[in-house]
């Protein structure tokens, strides 16, 4: 067989030509592909290496944005956790005027659902601004109706709305919140930073439609919000407000204030003012109604101030319980001014001076004490200074230094004139008498809680100073009980309980004449119950009563009703029988220990 050279078998001229073309094609494809790859690699290099930083920043600006974390404003509750102020989401309607296609049509459509007229809406839609509010915090049904309209340039955004489910209850204490969720009065203002926190933001990645895809986890910071637990009790607050309203209505008075405090700790259990308002509708209430008279208003206390005089005189030993004073038949001249009693008395014991609220007797006690000592005790009991309560707008009242007293001042101050005090100051001073002689700071916030109910801080009682000794308190309790048992405060007696207190009917200064008015008075009663272990110190002040216009007739019975209902609610057992009560008062109810505690926030 002939051998065949395989290689030579292909050395066909036609095969050789075809192979070259093939190789050329392959080479061409290779070159094209390589060139394309080179272009791609070059582009890749440009995008990923050379221009990487700039492009990454541009991309980041497009897909990253800051998302606000809407933390709800903290809830305010009473001491038992009953909600007094709660925040909910409330939709608000806004417009971007430049994006609104048909302003007339939009205004007509929106007017049917929003509390604005077509004209008002049109005015806002034509505003030369990029963003305008149309209606803030509307009802959910209104928001749904607006959303269904699907108008270009009109949108909804969720805001926080503050609601007070108990309506007027504790309105002055709670205060209220403005449209921008900031506290404007009361606890809402005082603890605004803790209730409202500060705006927080996290970085989020969004898609082309603006929907958030990822977000960074929020770091817990000091900007979180807290719930505030108050010292007040909803039931005691309601009882106090109800009785105060009845008293103001019955006496046709101009205004009234009633405060209930635990004298051992300074916790305010109730704080009521009349007139009052609904914090859900605070914009509609006159400023006068919204004023917290208990802490802000001052008045000349009148005869209730004789408690301070009596405490000072007994403490200094210038007076003893058995001392007798001649009543001058109901009139005494001091510094050229004649001051009268409401009855003509001959001889009175010190107990009678307080029980019958004799001005003549009180002035004589004051003259024995002297102005320097008396002033020291007045300021020692906290008058002329802030009590330090955690409420805004408190005023310190006014007491002039002895160097500025006139010839009549000592006499006037002995009967509670020429000094202006707030109801809060007066009750705080009386609480010191009730608790055994120590002045405590009143407070209304009891604790702070995280919104998962974990308590993070509690505010406890704060003893400021000892003002009078326990022995003086025991001695003073005798005439103060006589006030209620047989004196001017008989209407304050609570069945089954020992009560001590003092009435007051102070003439108001008539600014038109510059003299004290006979018609305009402030009627008051301050008292504590039960005497052997005071659980409640209560002050009632009725401003300008037209009927029953004296402390014993209108303030004392209001005290009685508040005390009776509150003692029942707190299940405080009745006092021991009278003979044992007097004996225990003489032996002493004991010194009340008040522990130092953490100061609360200011």
């Amino acid at each position: 067989m002939r051998s065949i050279d395989p290689q030579s078998a292909f050395r066909n001229p036609q095969s050789v030509a075809g192979g070259t073309v093939h190789r050329l094609r392959v080479a061409l494809v290779f070159v094209v592909l390589t060139a394309s790859l080179a272009v791609l690699l070059g582009r890749l290099f440009t995008l990923q290496i050379r221009d990487h930083r700039g492009l990454a920043e541009r991309a980041s600006r497009q897909y990253r944005r800051l998302v606000p974390l809407t933390s709800k404003r903290g809830t305010i509750t009473d001491r038992n956790g009953r909600e007094l102020a709660v925040s909910l989401q409330a939709p608000s309607v806004f417009a971007q005027p430049s994006a609104v296609a048909d302003a007339e049509g939009a205004a007509a459509a929106l007017a049917a659902h929003l509390p604005l007229s077509r004209t008002q809406l049109l005015e806002r839609l034509h505003a030369d601004k990029p963003f305008v509010w149309l209606a803030r915090q509307v009802e959910p049904a209104q928001a749904e109706a607006v959303a269904r309209l699907n108008l270009k340039g009109i949108g909804l955004v969720a805001e926080s709305r503050r609601l007070y489910p108990r309506q007027e209850l504790a309105a002055h204490l709670l205060g209220f919140v403005g449209v921008d969720d900031r506290g404007l009065e009361g606890i809402e203002f005082q603890y605004d930073a803790l209730l409202g926190g500060k705006p927080r933001w996290v970085v989020a990645a969004q898609d082309a439609l603006g929907r958030v895809v990822f977000r960074d986890e929020a770091e817990p910071t000091d900007r979180e919000t807290f719930d505030v637990v108050l010292t007040i009790d909803e039931v005691i607050q309601y009882i106090t407000e109800r009785e105060l309203e009845r008293a103001v209505a019955r006496s046709r008075a101009r205004a009234g204030t009633a405060i209930v405090m635990d004298p051992r700790t300074g916790e305010v259990l109730a704080l009521a003012n009349w007139p009052t308002f609904n914090p859900n509708l605070y914009q509609q209430a006159p400023a006068d109604d919204r004023r917290d008279r208990a802490a802000v208003d001052t008045f000349e206390p009148g005869s209730v101030f004789k408690v301070i005089l009596g405490a000072a005189a007994l403490e200094e030993g210038v007076v003893h319980l058995g001392d007798r004073f001649y009543g001058e038949n109901g009139a005494i001249e001091v510094g050229g001014v004649t001051i009268r009693d409401h009855e003509r008395y001959a001889w009175l014991t010190f107990e009678d001076v307080l029980a019958q609220s004799s001005n003549v007797g009180a002035i004589k006690v004051g003259l024995r004490l002297g102005k320097t000592l008396y002033y020291n005790y007045i300021s020692g009991f906290g008058f002329g200074s802030l009590t330090g309560i955690d409420l805004p707008g408190e005023t310190p009242g006014l007491i002039r230094r002895p160097q500025k007293w006139s010839q009549v001042s000592l006499g006037a101050l002995s009967i509670g004139q020429e000094v202006s005090v707030t109801p809060l100051q007066l009750l705080t001073a009386f609480a010191a008498v009730a608790n055994g002689g120590e002045l405590v700071r009143p407070f209304v916030a009891r604790a702070l809680r995280r919104q998962d109910a974990e308590t993070v801080r509690t505010f406890g009682p704060l003893k400021l100073r000892r003002v009078i000794s326990a022995a003086t308190v025991r001695a003073l309790a005798v005439p103060l009980q006589a006030v209620v048992r047989e004196g001017t405060g008989k209407e304050a007696a609570v069945d089954g309980y020992s009560v001590m207190g003092k009435t007051g009917t102070a003439q108001k200064l008539d600014r038109a004449t510059g003299r004290y008015s006979h018609r305009k008075v402030v009627a008051s009663f301050v008292g504590a119950v039960p005497v052997e272990d005071p659980r409640l110190a209560i002050l009632v002040v009725i401003d300008e009563p037209q009927a029953h216009a004296w402390g014993g007739a209108i303030a004392a019975p209001t005290f009685r009703e508040i005390a009776r209902e509150t003692l029942k609610y707190l299940r405080v057992p009745p006092s021991p029988p009278a003979e044992r009560r007097v004996a225990s008062a003489a032996q002493g109810a004991g010194v009340y220990h008040i522990a130092y505690a953490t100061r609360g926030p200011r």
Partner: protein, 116 residues
């Protein structure tokens, strides 16, 4: 001219005489192709897996945001119910219902007996 058949015969004739010619089960070229295919499959698979993970993360991101929104709505609903409960439990309202609808009255002092 040498025909293809003759070339093949010549080639076969030039083969060493080890006995009858045995073709391998999988030829070298096939093995090469299979290896290439496997490598390509692995590469493509890895890329697909990477892309799949990314898509899953994005999808889960949407899901998380949707659940956040749902949670917010439920929390809000809880708050609204708390508010309504607070309104219904208000002492003033309870007293009005007790007196007005149920005809209840406050106990008189003598009706309360303290048991020590």
């Amino acid at each position: 001219m040498t025909t293809r058949a003759e070339v093949l015969v010549g080639t076969a004739a030039a083969a060493p005489a080890y006995g009858p010619a045995r073709r391998p089960f999988v030829s070298a070229r096939t093995r090469e192709l299979l290896a290439l295919l496997a490598t390509g499959t692995l590469l493509v698979g890895a890329v697909l897996f990477y892309v799949f993970q990314h898509i899953q993360v994005v999808r889960l991101g949407y899901e998380v945001e949707r659940l956040r929104g749902e949670r917010s709505a439920l929390v809000e609903q809880g708050r609204a119910l708390t508010l309504e409960a607070a309104r219904l439990r208000a002492v003033k309202r309870v007293e009005e219902v007790a007196r007005g609808e149920l005809g209840m009255v406050a106990p008189a002092p003598g009706q309360i007996v303290v048991v020590r």
